[in-house]
């Protein structure tokens, strides 16, 4: 794998996910070497913001933004000046990516217009790559996003195909897959990951990593469930920190060349030390600052850690 950059198959991934505790450090070390060999020492830094929060008609059981649960998250839209300001704050951390997210099944005309205006305003004021995550798309919407200059599209498969119906009933894994195919064919970069700790078995975790490897996304954001009050998964336990580290190593070994990003839940699952362990175990990208409805640790803490680990922040020019 180190030599050829070919990832582990599902059986190999499962072996890593089942390693005894005392073999986790060696797996993280190997994952780190694979990352250094195929991706290099740079770390891609990204900020994310919610353009339209809450009131989503879908029922993803982990999500506080579904309008179908008694979550305290209310529906709210971000205005364009605030969106541009958020992009500026993100760029000020040295980040090269800014992802605009909306809690929707898929965009309607109002959201597409807000995107058109918002992306144009950001591009006029801030030097940063703009990514988007707006749910399921039509071919026409894919084309419009390309035209706006959105360079990467996030659409998570969330979990293994075999477990997806336990988590979402209002749309299918296959519907998500077809949006991802359109995005890939459009030339936009594909960002696709998911959430661990939804109740999937360890076999399903391996299945999920193998399914992502088949998709070969440019980026895989790895979230750990942060159980949200009022959601069907609100009382689930958080992922065991050792299982989280096994998963980080396994996903890197399944996807040697992808941008593997620490996304939500790392603070809760792994604490402050976990960020370091992940960055030395296959992770090569972080979301800095706050998430969509919850808060992260301050960007400065992550940036100081990167300095200490001698991992340069990937420059904007390197991504163009």
């Amino acid at each position: 794998m180190l030599e050829q950059g070919v990832g582990l198959d599902e059986a190999g991934i499962l072996q890593v996910l089942r390693l005894p505790d005392d073999e986790i450090p060696a797996a993280l070390q190997l994952a780190h070497e694979v990352r250094m060999r195929w991706c290099g020492p740079e770390v891609e830094v990204e900020g994310i913001v919610s353009l339209k929060t809450g009131g989503c008609p879908e029922d993803c059981h982990f999500c506080s933004q579904s309008g179908l649960f008694s979550s305290p998250v209310r529906s709210v839209w971000l205005d364009i000046p605030s969106l541009v300001e958020a992009a500026k704050q993100t760029a000020a951390t040295g980040a090269s990516e800014f992802c605009i997210v909306a809690a929707v099944r898929g965009p309607d005309d109002k959201l597409m217009k807000q995107m058109r205006d918002g992306v144009a305003a950001i591009k006029a004021a801030v030097d940063i790559n703009v990514a988007a995550s707006l749910g399921m798309l039509t071919q026409q919407q894919v084309d419009q996003l390309v035209e706006m200059g959105v360079h990467r599209y996030n659409h998570n498969l969330e979990t293994a195909q075999s477990f997806f119906p336990n988590v979402v009933t209002t749309h299918t894994w296959e519907e998500r897959w077809s949006t991802l195919k359109m995005v890939r064919e459009s030339g936009m970069e594909v960002c696709c990951g998911g959430i661990l700790g939804l109740g999937e078995t360890v076999e399903q975790r391996a299945e999920f990593a193998a399914q992502l490897a088949e998709l070969q996304p440019h980026e895989v954001p790895l979230n750990f469930l942060n159980p949200r009050p009022g959601t069907p998964l609100g009382d689930r336990p958080i992922v065991d920190p050792k299982d989280a580290l096994r998963a980080i190593a396994a996903f890197r070994l399944a996807l040697p060349r992808t941008i593997l990003r620490y996304a939500g839940g790392r603070e809760i699952t792994l604490g402050d030390l976990g960020t370091r362990d992940g960055l030395l175990g296959g992770i090569n990208a972080v979301i800095v600052g706050n998430y969509l409805t919850t808060l992260g640790r301050p960007a400065t803490q992550d940036l100081e850690l990167l300095q200490e680990l001698k991992m340069p922040v990937k420059a904007l020019s390197a991504t163009l």
């Binding site: 998250v73 971000l78 958020a86 603070e267 809760i268 800095v288 409805t293 808060l295």
Partner: protein, 59 residues
């Protein structure tokens, strides 16, 4: 002095240790004075939470 009547995280009366711990990584969701659900916008470097009656908090 403002007296906190409702928990800003769960909206129930009083203070709750678990909610206070969670608040380190969450913005408030309920107005502590009137228990209304607030309109909360999180951005990368902060958040605002607005109660129609009691105004906007920043963090």
């Amino acid at each position: 002095m403002t007296v906190m009547v409702y928990c800003e995280r769960c909206g129930e009366p009083g203070r709750h240790d678990e909610c206070e711990r969670a608040r380190a990584l969450e913005p408030p969701r309920f107005c502590a004075k009137c228990r209304r659900r607030m309109k909360v916008q999180v951005v990368p470097a902060g958040w605002t939470a607005t109660c129609v009656e009691h105004g906007t908090m920043h963090g």
